[in-house]
Symmetry: C2
Subunit: 434 residues, 2 copies
């Protein structure tokens, strides 16, 4: 913790602040986002200095190059998070939206209004820009947020958090609406705060997310795995298959929306050969079932044998499993059985096959003729995302402002009693008022 308070104190303070933050005006929250952007630019020197210390320590500790790239917070990343906060400040208020407006009976009116969830805990990876993005999304949606970033980014996170807190203070937001947790022990304490924390969003490896899910009574949104598929349908275009396979596997190999398995219909030999060749050229290791191994070997494409466990494995590396199926139905059954219900794509020119695939594949994202890598809040036009959910409840897929909202029912009457209705003196009209 940056201050002399414990996690339970921070969670209780956030709960207290949550009522006032939920009642704050859009103008006030938008002002806080604008101040956040201004202050970040103003105090960029301190942030960059803190980041330089984190990067130096990480280099000394031998952190790998991709991780170092994520840790680095430079002028480009600063510009991105500032523009993100400004864009959010101009977006429509997600809070106080009328979702239902209905006369239940004469003089008795029901209104359902969107409202913040309340207190959210987000545990994110060693990318310091995530702190500002998540903080901005929670601020816009009126949610109090307890933030825990990667330990490698501690100094950068402290500097960015100080700016976030200061922006809230200058805009008159309630004290305690956000807090920075710093240690593994803090996370352990957070998991037991089910009275004061309404939702946890862990981002990170599947094993980490599963650990969180199994050690708390707080609802958890996230994806414990991203086992995504690309299926090459009978007679699909070979060039398109190769282009999409390479993008979906290699464009950003450690992302959850990267494919781990390529399925191909036995009547799409040309397509799988084109895809496998292009993937090999891109340095991808290919693990195959018998039929695929035979086909690739005949074509002189290097590959190895897959095992049953491969169909469930999220490699997060330049490795891909490949399997031949006899029908569209077999592909769908494989995806529903072994997949993680994240994002799965079909390459097909056949509208009927697409309709069947779309109806029967049980995933948050079901795609046709495009890369699974599009599964992302920014690309969907949500501005940003706090995470991607593979659960079916509340939020499914990329979770932006809408996923950070709940709702409440207001009912306004004139002394109305249920007894009058139960005993037949009055009756319901159920008339929509908008």
């Amino acid at each position: 913790m940056t201050k002399a308070f414990t996690v339970p104190e921070a969670a209780r303070a956030a709960r207290q602040a949550s009522y006032a933050l939920a009642a704050s005006s859009a103008a006030q929250r938008n002002e806080a986002l604008r101040i956040l952007s201004e202050l970040l630019r103003e105090k960029s020197g301190a942030v960059f200095a803190a980041n330089a210390a984190d990067v130096k320590a990480a280099e000394a500790a031998g952190l790998a190059a991709p991780a170092l790239a994520r840790l680095r917070f430079d002028g480009h990343k600063l510009e991105d998070v500032c523009r993100g906060a400004e864009a959010l400040s101009r977006m429509e208020d997600p809070i106080g939206r009328v979702q239902i407006h209905r006369e239940l009976a004469e003089g008795l009116v029901l209104t359902r209004l969107s409202c913040p969830i309340g207190v959210v805990g987000v545990i994110f990876e060693s990318r310091p820009d995530a702190l500002v993005q998540i903080g901005s999304l929670c601020l816009k949606s009126g949610n109090c947020v307890l933030l825990k970033g990667g330990s490698e980014a501690l100094n950068t996170n402290r500097a960015l958090f100080a700016v976030l807190e200061e922006a809230g203070r200058r805009a008159g937001l309630p004290d305690g609406w956000t807090a920075l947790l710093e240690t593994r022990e803090d996370v352990g304490a957070l998991l037991s705060m089910d009275e004061d924390v309404d939702l946890l969003i862990p981002r990170g490896s599947g094993a980490f997310v599963r650990y969180i899910m199994e050690h708390t009574k707080i609802p958890v949104l996230g994806h414990s795995e991203g086992v995504c598929h690309l299926y090459l349908d009978a007679g699909c275009d070979a060039g398109e298959a190769a282009r999409l396979a390479v993008d979906a596997k290699t464009q950003y190999v450690s992302a959850c929306n990267t494919i781990e398995t390529l399925l191909w219909h036995r009547e799409s030999e040309q397509a799988v050969l084109a895809a496998a060749g292009a993937l090999r050229d891109a340095g991808v290791r290919l693990l195959c079932d018998g039929a695929t191994q035979k086909l690739l070997a005949e074509a002189g494409i290097a590959c190895e044998a897959a095992e049953e466990a491969d169909w469930r494995t999220e490699y997060l590396a330049l490795t891909l499993s490949l399997k031949c199926v006899g029908s569209l139905e077999e592909a769908i059954a494989h995806i529903n059985r072994y997949g993680s219900h994240h994002t799965d794509a079909i390459v097909t020119g056949d509208d009927g096959a697409w309709r069947r695939f779309a109806a029967l594949v049980d995933s948050a994202g079901v795609y046709r003729n495009c890369s699974t890598r599009f599964a992302d809040g920014y690309r969907y036009g949500f501005g940003a995302e706090v995470g991607i959910s593979t659960g079916r409840l509340h939020a499914r897929g990329p979770m932006g402002l809408e996923g950070l909202c709940s709702y409440k029912y207001l009912l306004e009457g004139h002394g109305d009693t249920v007894g009058d209705f139960a005993e037949g003196r009055r009756s319901f009209t159920h008339k929509e008022l908008r």
Copy 2:
């Protein structure tokens, strides 16, 4: 179980059936609802005979009169559930609704469609009509459902379930879309089926719901307690206060939306005296804080002292706690601290006080000048409800067809890769298509 299958088998069969049921047409599901209604009327003799056996056994076991009344399934209740199924068959399909339709980039179109949650487990009380209502709601929303009713209603539930299953079969719905669980052991087995069951909805006592929540990894929707409040604001109308207090406490004493605590502003003495007098006349036991006890004693209204624990107690009986507060803010703080975030009401003529109460009370239902007993899916115009949620995620308050739906994102392109966007060759348009 009515058949020779185990709960894991039933859950796996429901998961398999869930894909086909999600892809079924509205016409087919509506036809199943119409057949259900016809068959129930046709086979009412068998249902009534089964119910007579249950009632006879319950009488012999000395079941209390209100419980017996709930167990009894007569011509009126049959008519109600038949009309309910027919009404659902005429309602708009909740599945396949377009929630987002957006061009992400030229030729790349995102569509968000509502879809069923998948497999739902509902554990309900000894009211056999609940089986038909829940089965109908799940059928309409394309959800597979595992049903567990009260053991006192076993024969009636078997007879009703046979009709539900037969209706599905005649309409061509996939086998295994529903199953009847019968024993406490079945419930234990159900709790461990987190791979194949997407949501549990337990209905019943707070202790029971908490037990379920603590013994499963499956998401649970429900309310573990219904500690609802009525707050009499300064200067509110005494007649209205008395009428609403009596309805909210006594109209159906064992319901979750019944009030357990009456709060009154110290400047609403006439109102609390009128309410307390009317409640005593209705046979309600009054447990009071010091100020209230003093006022009522002076007026000759019988009452007792409340303890700290009373503010958190759901009596589900003709007992009410009463407390005097110094301000609207104190009332709101009491409700947020001791309440269960279910439904809380204010009696006030002051629009400013109502706006503050509505903004700051953190409950699924926030009411003005009407009884908390209106918190109910039927009264809200949802047709019926599977339960009432006091959680903030997914569904809050009465949960009808909408609460039984999730959504999925479909993305259709023409060979689109993320690489083209990352490397600046293409850019997002994010244009709404409706």
